[in-house]
C-alpha cells in the first residue's frame, strides 16, 4: 500500500524531466538545414506553423478552450511587425517580435476577459467574431495595413546586428525561426508541467470540480489565453519578418481552422502534437498538391476522417501504447 502511493508520487515528481527522444525534433530540424538546403523557405514556414500550433495547444489542448479565432493573434503579430517596419521604420527583428507579442497579448487579454465568461458554442462563435472584426479592420484600414493587397517588400535589419536575412535561400530565417521556436517551446513546456499547467488540465477535465476546489478558474484561463496569444503573435511576427510581407491571409478562418486541424492530427494536449501535426499536414499538402493540383484537399479530408474515426488522440495518440509497451519491456516488468 505504502509503495503504491509513493511510487506514483515519484513518477509524478519526475514527469517533467527531459527524455532522450525529446532531442529528436531539434536534431531533425538541424539535420534538415544541411540535407535540404533548397527547401529552407518551406522549412521556415513549417517552423512558424509549429510555433503557431504550439500556442494553440496551450489553450485548446491543455485548458480545453475551443477557439476558431486563434489566427487573430497570429495576424495581430504579423501586422504589428509589418506596420512598424513600413510606417515607423522600426525594423529591428527581435524588438519587432517583442512588439508583436505585446500587441497580441493585449488583444488576447482584453478579448479573453469577455470571451472566457462563456463556453462551448458561444465561445466558439465569439472567438470567430473577434477574428472577423480584426480581419475587417485590416481590410478597411488600407492606409495603414495596405488593405486587400497587404504590405509587400518589408525589409529588416540584421538579426542581433550580425545575420542578414537571406531572401533567396532562407538560411538565416530558418535558423532564426528555429531559435525562436526553441525559446517559446521551453516556455510552454515549463508552463504545462507546472502547477499552473496542471490546473489548466483540471479546468479542461472538469470545470465544476475546479470551482469546487476553490481555484480561480477564470483568472487562470485569461492568463493562459493571454500567454497563448502572445506566442501566436510571435509566430505571426516571425512570418512577416521571414517572408517580408503581410496580407489578409494571416488572419483568416483558413489559418485558424488549419492550425486546429494540425493539432488534432498530431494529438492535442501533448506538447509534441504541434510538431507532428504541422509537419504531417504541411508535408501532405506539399506532396498531394504536386501530385493532384486540383484535388489535394480531398486527401487531407480523408486523412482527417480516418483520424476522427480511428485515432481520436491523433498520430501521437497512436504511438503512445507502443511507447508504453516498449518502456515496460525495457523496465523488465
Amino acid at each position: 500500500m505504502m509503495r503504491g502511493a509513493a511510487a506514483a508520487a515519484e513518477a509524478f515528481a519526475r514527469r517533467h524531466r527531459l527524455r532522450w527522444w525529446e532531442a529528436l525534433p531539434w536534431i531533425a530540424a538541424l539535420a534538415a538545414f544541411f540535407v535540404f538546403p533548397t527547401y529552407l523557405s518551406f522549412g521556415t514556414q513549417l517552423l512558424v506553423t509549429v510555433l503557431f500550433a504550439l500556442s494553440l495547444d496551450l489553450v485548446l489542448g491543455y485548458a480545453g478552450i475551443v477557439t476558431l479565432g486563434h489566427a487573430a493573434f497570429f495576424g495581430a503579430g504579423a501586422y504589428t511587425v509589418g506596420m512598424l517596419a513600413a510606417h515607423a521604420g522600426w525594423n529591428e527583428p527581435l524588438s519587432g517580435l517583442a512588439a508583436a507579442a505585446a500587441v497580441a497579448a493585449t488583444i488576447g487579454f482584453l478579448s479573453g476577459l469577455v470571451l472566457l465568461r462563456t463556453h462551448g458554442l458561444t465561445l466558439l462563435m465569439l472567438t470567430l467574431c473577434t477574428m472577423a472584426l480584426l480581419e475587417q479592420a485590416a481590410n478597411m484600414g488600407a492606409a495603414w495595413t495596405g488593405g486587400f493587397d497587404g504590405i509587400p517588400g518589408l525589409k529588416f535589419q540584421k538579426i542581433l546586428g550580425l545575420f542578414e536575412f537571406d531572401v533567396l535561400y532562407f538560411r538565416t530565417q530558418y535558423l532564426y525561426a528555429l531559435a525562436v521556436l526553441f525559446a517559446c517551446f521551453v516556455l510552454v513546456r515549463t508552463l504545462v508541467y507546472s502547477s499552473f499547467g496542471q490546473s489548466l488540465t483540471g479546468v479542461r477535465e472538469n470545470v465544476l470540480r475546479m470551482h469546487a476546489v476553490g481555484a480561480p478558474v477564470r483568472t487562470r484561463l485569461v492568463v493562459a489565453y493571454t500567454i497563448s496569444a502572445a506566442l501566436a503573435g510571435v509566430a505571426g511576427g516571425l512570418f512577416a519578418q521571414a517572408t517580408g510581407f503581410v496580407n489578409l491571409a494571416v488572419l483568416g478562418l483558413d489559418r485558424s481552422a488549419g492550425v486546429m486541424i494540425m493539432l488534432i492530427l498530431g494529438g492535442y494536449g501533448r506538447l509534441y502534437g504541434a510538431f507532428v501535426g504541422a509537419v504531417a499536414f504541411l508535408l501532405l499538402e506539399h506532396v498531394l498538391a504536386k501530385a493532384y493540383p486540383t484535388a489535394w484537399q480531398l486527401g487531407v479530408g480523408v486523412l482527417l476522417v480516418l483520424v476522427a474515426l480511428y485515432a481520436r488522440n491523433g498520430i501521437l495518440g497512436l504511438a503512445e501504447p507502443l511507447a508504453r509497451r516498449f518502456a515496460a519491456r525495457r523496465g523488465g516488468v
Binding site: 500500500m1 505504502m2 509503495r3 503504491g4 502511493a5 509513493a6 511510487a7 506514483a8 508520487a9 513518477a11 509524478f12 515528481a13 519526475r14 514527469r15 517533467h16 515549463t190 508552463l191 508541467y193 507546472s194 502547477s195 499552473f196 499547467g197 496542471q198 490546473s199 488540465t201 483540471g202 477535465e205 472538469n206 465544476l208 470540480r209 475546479m210 470551482h211 469546487a212 476546489v213 476553490g214 481555484a215 480561480p216 483568472t219 487562470r220
Partner: protein, 253 residues
C-alpha cells in the same frame, strides 16, 4: 451545546426559481465536529441546500453563517478557502488524470501553489507529501498511479472524498457518497467516512437508512424545500409524521 456558535448555520434561507420554491425558510445548525445527516424524499431540495451552503447558488433571502460570520455573499472559491468542502452526488473527477494528480490539484489549490508557473508541479514537496498522506488514508495507494477512468466506481467515490479532504475542510458536505455503488461495496465508503478526523463537522445526504442510522448523531428531515423535523436518530425513528412521509415508504421500497 445550543449556546455555542455553530460551525455552520443558516437563518431563514430561501431559494426560488420563478414560482418554484426549492428552499423555504431553512433554519439549520451544524455543530462543531458534528455527524449530521440530511434526509428526505427525492426532490426535497437536499442538493439545492448544499449548493446554497457552498455558494454555487445565491439564496433569494436569508443568511449563511460560517462560525457566526456572514458568508452569504462570498463566492464558492472564497468559501472553500474558509473551509467548506463538498463531494458530489455524481462523481466530478478529472477522469483523464491519475488518482494522485486528482488529489494533488486540490491540495495545490489549498496550499496556494495552484498558480505557480515556473516550478514543476511535482517539485512542490509539501503538496506531494500531503497528497500521499490522503491517498494512503483512503487506502487508494495501489491505485494512485491509475487514471480515474480505469477505476471501478466505488474507488472513484473514495477519490471524491480524498479531493474534499485535500482542501483541509472544517465543514465537509457529503452528497450521497455511496450513490451508485453496489451495496456489497458500500461498506468501503462507510468505513472511510467513519474514520474521518473527528474535528471535521460532517453533513451527509443519504438515502440508505442503514448508513444514516449507523453514522449520524443528529438527523434533519427535509420535505418540499423546508425542514420537516430534526432530532436524534431515536427521535426521528419514533416520529410518526416522519414515518408517514418518508421512512415508511423508504423502508417499504
Amino acid at each position: 451545546m445550543s449556546g455555542a456558535i455553530p460551525i455552520l448555520e443558516t437563518r431563514g434561507l430561501c431559494k426560488a426559481f420563478g414560482a418554484l420554491e426549492v428552499a423555504r425558510e431553512i433554519d439549520f445548525r451544524l455543530e462543531r465536529g458534528a455527524r449530521h445527516a440530511l434526509i428526505g424524499p427525492n426532490g426535497a431540495g437536499k442538493t439545492t441546500f448544499v449548493n446554497l451552503l457552498t455558494g454555487v447558488l445565491a439564496p433569494s433571502r436569508g443568511q449563511v453563517l460560517l462560525e457566526g460570520e456572514d458568508v452569504t455573499h462570498l463566492p464558492q472559491a472564497k468559501r472553500v478557502k474558509r473551509g467548506i468542502a463538498r463531494t458530489f452526488q455524481i462523481s466530478q473527477l478529472f477522469r483523464g488524470l491519475t488518482v494522485l494528480e486528482n488529489v494533488a490539484i486540490a491540495v495545490a489549490e489549498r496550499m496556494g501553489a495552484g498558480g505557480a508557473m515556473l516550478k514543476p508541479a511535482g517539485a512542490h514537496r509539501e503538496v506531494l507529501d500531503e497528497t500521499i498522506r490522503l491517498v494512503e488514508m483512503l487506502k487508494l495507494g495501489d491505485d494512485a498511479g491509475r487514471r480515474i477512468g480505469e477505476l471501478p466506481y466505488g474507488r472513484q467515490r473514495l477519490v471524491e472524498i480524498a479531493i474534499a479532504l485535500g482542501l483541509a475542510p472544517r465543514v465537509l458536505l457529503l452528497d450521497e457518497p455511496a450513490a451508485g455503488i453496489p451495496s456489497a461495496e458500500s461498506h468501503i465508503i462507510l468505513d472511510a467516512i467513519a474514520s474521518l478526523p473527528a474535528e471535521i463537522a460532517i453533513l451527509i445526504i443519504e438515502h440508505d437508512m442503514d448508513v444514516v442510522f449507523r453514522f449520524a448523531k443528529r438527523i434533519t428531515v427535509m420535505v418540499s424545500g423546508a425542514v420537516f423535523a430534526e432530532g436524534t436518530p431515536a427521535e426521528i425513528a419514533a416520529n410518526r409524521d416522519v414515518r408517514a412521509v418518508y421512512l415508511g415508504s423508504a423502508l417499504d421500497g
